[in-house]
């Protein structure tokens, strides 16, 4: 198996590894800093695992879980946790992350990152599950802010404060998805820049970028986090702020629906590198869309 990854997480942005790109990635490793996988898509064998092992030989890899249901009041599915832990043990990724969301109740998996009410009760549930996950993996994980389409009537803790409390209680870090901040700010009417300023600077260990879909529901504009298009200018603008606040966090480009050719993702990662360098240089630049 692979040896421990002693390489520094690359300064260059990474991309999500998706099944439709396996053949292209095997034929020619993409010119990006690192790759991220969804844990649940690499728990079997065959071509997917073969591609992952090939990628892992020459690039840092991050394992991003989408099904552990850390917000689940029932606690974690120990069988699934064991499978993810085995993958992490074999791949030795440089980052492991999951979501501030739930997807399982009563043993049923709903294939979505479902919203939580931000209460003391929820904080206790998520903290318990994150602690269990970190104990099982014997490492720190990053927890991602979700995209949401509703808020609960009783949800007294602001999301950045909830993430900060979770980090303080469990020692976990934060995966800041800038697109999700933009989606939630639009859907729930808060200031995205203020949200980013409220996330504790030392906690953020990774940044996600993606595109979203602008939908109309009963005449109300709702942003849907479909990861199905290029990063829009509104998200790039927030990214500049995020890079300055969290300069050490590596950046990932996510694209999960209407997935384009691999070189489009590689170009998007290059765009992130350029934007990041410009933001850190304090340059005031204008970029064509």
């Amino acid at each position: 198996m692979t040896t421990a990854d002693t390489r520094e997480p690359s300064r260059a942005a990474g991309i999500g590894l998706r099944a439709s790109h396996h053949a292209a990635v095997m034929a020619s490793p993409p010119a990006v800093g690192w790759l991220e996988i969804h844990a649940e898509n690499y728990l079997g064998g065959g071509q997917a695992r073969r591609c992952l092992d090939a990628v892992r030989r020459d690039r840092p890899v991050s394992v991003h879980g989408v099904g552990l249901s850390l917000g689940g009041a029932d606690g974690l599915d120990e069988r699934h946790l064991g499978r993810v832990a085995a993958l992490v043990g074999e791949i030795e990724p440089f980052l492991v992350s999951e979501h501030l969301a739930w997807s399982v109740t009563g043993g049923v998996y709903h294939n979505d990152l479902l919203p939580l009410p931000y209460t003391e009760e929820s904080l206790g549930v998520v903290a318990g599950n994150v602690t269990r996950l970190q104990e099982r993996l014997r490492r720190r994980v990053l927890i991602e802010n979700p995209s949401t389409y509703l808020r609960f009537a009783h949800s007294p803790i602001p999301e950045p404060a909830f993430l900060a409390a979770l980090a303080a209680r469990t020692g976990c870090g934060v995966l800041l998805d800038v697109n999700n901040v933009q989606v939630c700010a639009a859907n729930h009417g808060f200031d995205a820049a203020a949200y980013i300023d409220a996330v504790p600077a030392g906690a953020v260990g990774e940044i996600h970028l993606a595109g979203h879909h602008v939908a109309q529901e009963d005449g109300v504009t709702i942003l849907i986090d479909d990861h199905g298009s290029a990063v829009p200018e509104t998200v790039w603008s927030l990214y500049r702020q995020a890079v300055r606040r969290f300069p050490k966090a590596p950046t990932l480009i996510e694209w999960d629906t209407r997935i384009p050719a691999l070189d489009v993702l590689v170009a998007e990662a290059g765009q992130a590198d350029a934007r990041r360098a410009a933001a850190l240089a304090g340059m005031n630049h204008a970029v064509a869309a």
Partner: protein
């Protein structure tokens, strides 16, 4: 105020087509009505799980059409939702569910079983196959009582319908003509050395032999099962084909 567990049970019920009154009452009334907000989530669960089933059962969808498939998928998802977050493992019960689907073609469930076996073959865990060279290194007197095991990617299916012909006719670019009167077929499904899930028809004797080996019978017993159906059954060729696939491992 409902507990988090209550909220999640109420949310789940609404996502799976049940009553949404309880979860709607817990949602902040905002610019968009709470019921419409819940609907966004319900649509996501329905659509993405239907797409997962369609990715695993493309020929079933082609045979019945997108509209019929969407209805069947919705009923299946609501009755038997996923129990694991690994979507490639969702749909083991879909073929059985299609047995009772109204006005479905008689062969539909068995075609679904073939697609499920191909899906399993593609995603199954890696395992070390038994090679012909490793078998040749064994003492010949031990062959008769030798027992093998299938790789996790291997399956033999038997249908009273020509499921392999139907499946092949519904691949991209294939001749769509199928003689449904040709009778049943046995099919061997495996993962080849390139990692592709593949399948081929088996004659009665070879299917009996392969099936017996996969079921854990000795090589001697499997040979008898093949020879009982065809005195001319070519045992060495059948065994060599299974090992070359690769389809078997050491027990």
């Amino acid at each position: 105020m409902p507990s988090l567990r209550d909220i999640q049970r109420d949310f789940s019920r609404a996502l799976l087509g049940g009553d949404d009154a309880a979860i709607v009452s817990a949602v902040l009334p905002d610019r968009l009505a709470p019921a419409r907000r819940i609907q966004i989530y319900r649509n996501h669960t329905r659509i993405t799980l239907r797409e997962a089933l369609a990715a695993t059962f493309p020929v079933v969808e082609r045979l019945v059409g997108a509209g019929y498939f969407a209805t069947a998928a919705r009923h299946f998802i609501e009755a038997l939702p996923p129990r694991s977050p690994v979507l490639a493992e969702y749909g083991a019960e879909f073929a059985g569910f299609l047995e009772t689907a109204p006005n479905a073609p008689t062969y539909l469930a068995d075609v679904a079983r073939l697609e499920w076996a191909l899906n399993q073959a593609y995603h199954a865990p890696d395992a070390a196959p038994l090679s012909a060279a490793a078998l040749a290194a064994m003492a010949p007197e031990a062959y008769g009582t030798l027992r093998l095991a299938p790789l996790p990617s291997t399956a033999v299916l038997t249908s009273s319908h020509p499921i392999l012909s139907i499946w092949k006719a519904n691949q991209a670019g294939a001749d769509p003509a199928v003689d449904l009167g040709q009778g049943g077929q046995h099919v061997l499904v495996w993962r080849d050395t390139d990692g592709d899930a593949v399948c081929r028809a088996l004659a009665d004797a070879e299917a009996a032999f392969d099936g017996a080996l996969i079921a854990g019978r000795t090589l001697g017993e499997a040979a008898e099962a093949g020879l009982a159906l065809d005195p001319g059954f070519d045992l060495p060729a059948a065994l060599a084909a299974l090992l070359a696939a690769p389809a078997m491992k050491q027990l």
